[in-house]
Amino acid sequence: MTINGWIQILIFCGIVVLLVKPLGGYMTRVYQGERTFLSFIFAPFERLLYRLAGTSENEDQHWTTYAAGMLAFNLLGFLVLYALQRFQAGLPFNPAGMGAVGPELAFNTATSFVTNTNWQNYGGESTMSYLVQMAGLTVQNFVSAATGMALAIALVRGFSRASAKSIGNFWVDLTRSTLYILLPLCIVLTLFYVYSGVPQTLGAYIDATTLEGAKQTIAVGPVASQLAIKMLGTNGGGFFNANSAHPFENPDALVNLVQMVTIFAIGAALTNVFGRMVGNQRQGWAILASMGVLFIVGVIVTYWAEAAGNPLIHALGIEGGNMEGKEVRFGIPLSALFAVVTTAASCGAVNAMHDSFTALGGMIPIINMELGEVIIGGVGAGLYGILIFVIIAIFVAGLMVGRTPEYLGKKIEGKEVKMAMLAMLCLPLAMLVFTAISVVMPSAVASIANQGPHGFSEILYAYTSAAANNGSAFGGLTGNTPWYNITLGIVMMMGRFMVIIPALAIAGSLAAKKTVPASAGTFPTDSGLFVGLLVGVILIVGGLTFLPALALGPIAEHLAIAAGQTF
């Protein structure tokens, strides 16, 4: 670890923290329907859109209606994306002449993008036409992110409203998330990326003749516009197979910094939106602080492990940290930081190959995802994920102050606990059960690229990433098989909707409750103590479940490597 490495990490954290208030303030205004500087462009358009859709910004929905709208929209989005892939060969914007995508892979990819996972069992430049990349994948990059943001706001309304039947209007939240937040930021970011060297063209792949006279086909495309939303919407699906390790998708350290900041920006700002909407910004900061603690610990472990390097290679007489699968322009600190950022938020973009990380360096991304993507998390998903943990934490420890547990004046009772536990249950169910089946299925084990505990980690990583809607991978695993395409698709749906529906139910139930005014007897939820409690509950309730799996994967691998063993 170097001082310069830590300075870069601190610069990153500093920028994220500085963005929280201004972005949070702006987003709050957007979601509360107040005028912003963009209203003069979008407000008339919005009204027209709502009229076309047969709704209105004044129409508030019960949580079940909200959920039904969200499901209908996602189902339709899935069908469109599936069809686009299946028929891409006959559709325009296909200069490379890509053929139809197979049914299982198309199912997997459609699920993956609709659920904001962006797990990729395909190589972008070798599989998808420009049309699919733009009208299919980029669209879902926007709207799956907007869906997550809408849901987070709906849950926040559950806390901020009292004795209310409704939690907002899904269509309005969806539209505003897209038009006022994602789109304008993406336009600015795209231009910055192109300026920095990211291609944005509809032209065909380029044939170059190298200095040594060989032929090199250089894949290009409308990369920058997809890159902008891929980060901002924590989607993570790369235009290219190598994702943000590809020099076109991440040309230098400044672009890299902007990418990392945009992964965290909206998720971090949403904690502030939460604070503002419930009337106490400190509540938002407390949540962000809990996320921050977990994040920093992850960064320390991964950076330390990667900087320490691979003892098996050191044994050959080479010094230095682990550079296998990393790019020189980012080096070890920015690769380690990116790995933690992208898995803490459910982005899944990578600027280095996680599969080649050291055992412990690669364990942190797994843990980040196993905790349910609550460290900043996916846009929106992170907030509602951590609020579910908050409900559990409040319920477990809140009783210790001698009152029925309450959070922000809302009593946490049977129904909330039931829904929160349902959401919590889906993670081990999806992550562990499918891993357990796959590791004893010879055809599934055949997909692994590394033997021994690392191969186990590859499979564990895959289902963990899918369930957490992250999308990053231990890339050695050959995921493009019918078994993985289908089961990972199912797991992605479980990870998304088995959390969303309970979260909306909680929102509905909380909104209907009275708000109990705070008193000296109220459990304080904006203090350091609460931060500590929340972190503890996330680790113990959310994390311990996975300890056996981690022991048999990365921990066993780490200890074996230390003892000089290979697999």
Partner: protein, 698 residues
């Protein structure tokens, strides 16, 4: 304060039957009430069956499996035992209650005449029957006195042997079956059928027979069930992980890991905590009609407290005579004393005492004075005396001034001298009002005195705020509870006393209607309200309040409306009730936190032991340096079982409540039960491991 004989936790009389009960509770129907322990029982049974199969097949290493299975069953039995001990304490109390419920013969009246009755068995009485109860008789069932006055010994239910007066009409008309009339006679209309009397309900409550899970307990059960399911997934997937790694894990080890991970500690003690909470109230001589009410008590945000008897001593005392101009203090004192001679109220007595102390006016005999006493009525709102041709009245200032306006002075108004009197009067009326206002502002009650239509002055009656009450309110404020004083006084007086007592707010000139209104307003703000009351007109408010504590001396209506009954009829107890409610919730939270925090150490004990066979390098996770894998697993499961026993006293006693803010309470409890929960099992498991390996058990 607790008058019932409290039973110590580790009394052999309770322990021995509890051991038996622990086995009886293995009945699946009773286990099913507790999801966590039910699951433990199921897996224990499963491993037992597998074990029997192993014996049949003749597998080796049975000794280890056998020990694990024994401890699995102990885990279930210890949980049952905890519940049985908690119930046992209640049962002991129920038995002593039951002994008082002897078979009674009732004198069922056949007509108006109280000489005409037939003897019937008490159990055969119906609601609405009229019975006669005479000195020495046991009151056959709950009822309301419709005629007569009697002194009653209620020791059977309150433990207090001093007799109390029960009379028809008013707020002391309720009698309880099983209590004994000591003197005189009363006619009682029966209000409860046999089997549903107050005493029956009380027995059922302390026995825990009627115990239903409270909302909080249900939510906690959901949480525990959910965590159990999560750990089912965590452990059920291990065999296939192990297969991948080229090894295998015996079922008995998986079961051991599973049972130690699921929250057995809190699962085992949850119902004991609930029963003990009710029991603690009972020992405080408060009967909660449901566990829900006890929980609600912990949540109370606003306490409505009656001023009289709770905040101030019941009686106001004369502290000063304030004559108007032209009247001497002694003159006023003399008149006031005369007017109060026959007044037996504490206020009246205090006037006589003050006159004697300050002005040495000796007590006089009404009869020798040929004075006739004019008693207080609700219409006149004054009392006094007619003596030697002059009439002296004292009473509320308004009432007295009213009396002056249309009294003898008004009659004289036609005469020339009457005009002067009138003028004098109007000047003195202004003065009286001024003095009265001054007294009221200071929290006192002004009592005007008039002689023959001429106002003399005002007696200052002072409310005496109970010693130590201000500190109690400060404590409550620190707990986050707002206190509201309810009083019939005018707002000025109320404000002064409120300030002196340190309550947060007050409701002056309270009527049953505005009391109810106040409760509704507080509840609309999302607050939970507790109050106590005794009169029939308190019933609507008691029913509306989230915690309504009815005084045992109160009317049947009040007792029915409230969700708790205070057998001692001590309104101050509301504060203790709140503390008991909080203690109940805290104990649950503390043990839940402790239970969950325990998991860390258990993982570190079992995981290395479980995987060591195929990944020897995992021995570094054996941070406790446990001697062998078997010993590690066995120690963890033994610790898991023993901790239940070790925590029974805490579950029954409850976590101590400190009246500090929630923040410091949380910090304290998080350190003790959260951090403690992480550390204790590390030490415990290590210690057990040392014993286990020393004994050569594994």
């Amino acid at each position: 304060m607790s008058k019932m004989k409290s039973v110590s936790i580790m009394d052999a009389a309770i322990i021995v039957p509890a051991i038996g009960a622990a086995f009886k509770k293995l009945d699946p129907r009773s286990l099913a009430r507790n999801p966590v322990m039910f699951v433990v029982a199921v897996v224990s049974a499963l491993t037992t069956v597998l074990f029997l199969k192993d014996i049949a097949v003749g597998n080796s290493n049975l000794g280890f499996s056998f020990q694990i299975i024994i401890w699995l069953w102990f885990t279930v039995l210890f949980a049952n035992f905890a519940e049985a001990v908690a119930e046992g304490r209640g049962k002991a109390q129920a038995d002593s209650l039951r002994r008082t419920r002897t078979e009674t013969q009732a004198k069922l009246l056949t007509g108006e005449d109280r000489a005409k009755f037939v003897m019937v068995p008490g159990a055969g009485l119906k609601v609405g029957d009229l019975v006669l109860v005479e000195a020495g008789d046991i009151i056959p069932s709950d009822g309301e006195v419709v005629e007569g006055v009697a002194s009653v010994n209620e020791a059977a239910i309150t433990g207090e042997s001093a007799p109390v007066i029960r009379e028809s009409g008013g707020d002391r008309s309720a009698v309880t079956g099983g209590t004994q009339v000591l003197s005189d006679w009363i006619k009682v209309r029966i209000t409860a059928a046999a089997g549903s009397t107050f005493l029956d309900r009380m027995i059922a409550l302390v026995e825990g027979a009627e115990r239903q899970k409270t909302p909080n307990e249900i939510a906690l059960n959901i949480l525990l069930a959910g965590m159990t399911l999560i750990f089912v997934l965590a452990t059920a997937t291990i065999p296939s992980f192990a297969t991948y790694a080229g090894g295998s894990v015996p079922v008995v080890v998986l079961v051991a890991l599973f049972v130690t991970l699921i929250p057995t500690t809190i699962g085992a003690l949850l119902s004991a905590i609930g029963i003990a909470g009710m029991d603690r109230l009972v020992r405080f001589n408060v009967l909660a009609m449901s566990g829900r009410a006890v929980e609600a008590a912990g949540d109370v945000d606003t306490l409505l407290l009656d001023k009289t008897g709770t905040i101030t001593l019941g009686n106001r005392q004369a502290s000063e005579f304030r004559p108007i101009k032209g009247v001497t203090e002694k003159e006023l004192a003399d008149a006031a004393q005369l007017a109060s001679l026959a007044d037996e109220t504490p206020e009246g007595r205090s006037i006589v005492v003050l006159a004697k102390e300050k002005y040495a006016i000796r007590e006089r005999d009404m009869r020798t004075l040929h004075a006739s006493f004019v008693p207080f009525t609700a219409q006149t709102r004054m009392s006094g005396v007619d003596v030697e041709g002059s009439s002296i009245r004292k009473g509320a200032v308004d009432a007295i001034l009213d009396h002056v306006a249309k009294g003898p002075a008004a009659a004289l108004a036609s005469s020339a001298s009457g005009v002067a009197t009138m003028q004098a009067s109007s000047a003195s009326i202004v003065e009286i009002r001024a003095i009265a206002e001054e007294i009221a502002k200071s929290g006192g009650t002004p009592l005007a005195v008039v002689r023959d239509g001429r106002p003399l002055g005002v007696i200052h009656l002072k409310d005496i705020v109970k010693g130590g009450i201000k500190e109690r309110f400060t404590e409550l404020r620190r707990m986050g509870i707002r206190t509201v004083m309810i009083t019939g006084d005018n707002p000025m007086t109320a404000a002064a006393i409120a300030a002196e007592a340190g309550v947060d707010d007050f409701l002056a000139q309270a009527t049953p209607e505005n009391k109810l209104q106040l409760i509704r307003e507080e509840q609309a703000k999302g607050k939970l309200v507790a109050m106590c009351g005794d009169g029939t007109n308190d019933a609507p408010a008691l029913a509306q309040a989230d915690v309504g504590v009815a005084m045992n001396t109160g009317t049947v209506a009040a007792r029915e409306a409230g969700n708790m009954v205070d057998l001692d009829s001590d309104p101050t107890k509301l504060i203790e009730i709140v503390e008991i409610g909080k203690q109940l919730l805290m104990t649950r939270g503390a043990l839940t936190t402790f239970s969950i925090a325990n998991d860390i150490a258990k993982y570190f004990a079992i995981i290395p032991a479980m995987f060591l066979a195929f990944y020897p390098q995992l021995k570094v996770l054996n941070v406790m340096n446990l001697s062998t894998p078997q010993s590690a697993i066995l120690s963890a499961i033994i610790f898991n079982a023993l901790i239940i026993i070790a925590l029974i006293p805490l579950a029954l006693r409850g976590v101590k409540y400190h009246a500090v803010g929630a923040a410091s309470l949380l910090r304290r409890n998080l350190i003790i039960y959260g951090l403690g929960g992480i550390i204790v099992p590390f030490i415990g498991i290590k210690a057990i491991d040392m014993v286990v390996s020393a004994l050569g058990l594994a």
